[in-house]
Symmetry: C2
């Protein structure tokens, strides 16, 4: 028997994405967001949602570009800080000692020390309610060689990303590899066979 909890913004896992943008004077900023995810395969696109009051929101409208940086467990303190300070008041790169690097493909800075980066061009934005959703087309993915497997695929265990639990306001780590996808369920498939 399920208990009704009312309407809450809640899924698990939620991600921890650090959004890199430039302001009007091309000063770099970074913000932590948990509202977002991939929204299209071809072209590859990712959606992120931010409140209009944030510094990042203005930067996104100004330059129509962002980076999505995925931190490792060891970068927890900096990532959390990116979510509680405002770029309107503080130089967040200076405060953390992290290094902004101009992207090759879009007009936005990425975080050199973070292992995985998506360079994104904003193709649309949508005011939903408290948050505006920005859809970014992924122009390039950049990764440290240490987080790739032997087929040059991004290995989740090697990235060792943070995981956010919205209802608890807590961070978790990722756990062990469990199974190959699109395989373990095949035995339930109709004898018509694998499609």
């Amino acid at each position: 028997m399920k208990k009704s909890l009312g309407a809450r913004p809640l899924v698990v896992p939620a991600p921890v994405f650090i959004i890199g943008t430039y302001d009007k004077q091309d000063r770099p900023n970074a913000m932590c967001v948990a509202w977002g995810g991939i929204c299209c395969s071809r072209p590859p696109c990712v959606a992120i949602s931010v409140r209009p009051a944030t510094h990042t929101h203005g930067n996104l409208l100004e330059h129509k570009a962002f980076t999505l940086n995925i931190p490792s467990r060891g970068q927890l303190k900096e990532s959390d800080y990116f979510g509680i300070a405002s770029g309107k008041q503080e130089n967040k790169f200076a405060a953390t000692g992290l290094t902004p690097v101009k992207s090759d493909r879009v007009h936005a800075p990425y975080v050199r020390e973070f292992p995985l980066v998506l360079e994104c061009q904003v193709i649309l934005n949508l005011q939903i309610g408290s948050h505006t959703q920005f859809v970014g087309e992924i122009a390039d993915v950049k990764a440290e060689a240490e987080v790739l497997d032997d087929k040059e695929r991004v290995d989740l265990a090697k990235v060792d990303p943070l995981i956010f639990s919205p209802d608890q306001h807590a961070y978790y780590t990722a756990g062990p590899w469990l199974a190959e996808a699109f395989r373990v369920g095949l035995e339930l498939k109709h004898p018509g066979g694998r499609s």
Copy 2:
């Protein structure tokens, strides 16, 4: 030095969401999606992306409602199956032995055996490219009592959700609790203090 991997649809963690819908004859269907996430806090909304060729896509257009069901690690096989079989060819609830339950708040079925369910009303859809994004306003969250903590918050560790790694085509588990959010980064904040 980062390596350029080209444009790929990839973030970590990606979620494993089971989307419940009814077809025109009110037959229940369930589909596995990894493209999605929360997109607004007020009203609480979640975005999911599905290809137009899927049975779920037609059902979403027909009834403008879905449930988003979050499975536990023990429901891996059924969840994977929901992503490799089509409701156009197979009765996926019958194949898995799972139980569709009519939602209280929207015209869509949820999966009784899964620990966490969001009942969602579609408020808009957006054709991006290969995928259509559907934004659902969360009308209610329902959870098994066993996945709640002592403050009635959804406890990620108790849900024990699946985590998807898109580049590897692999499932992972969640790992241990790491830190309270909006706290661990405070020490980097400007002496102006906590906002």
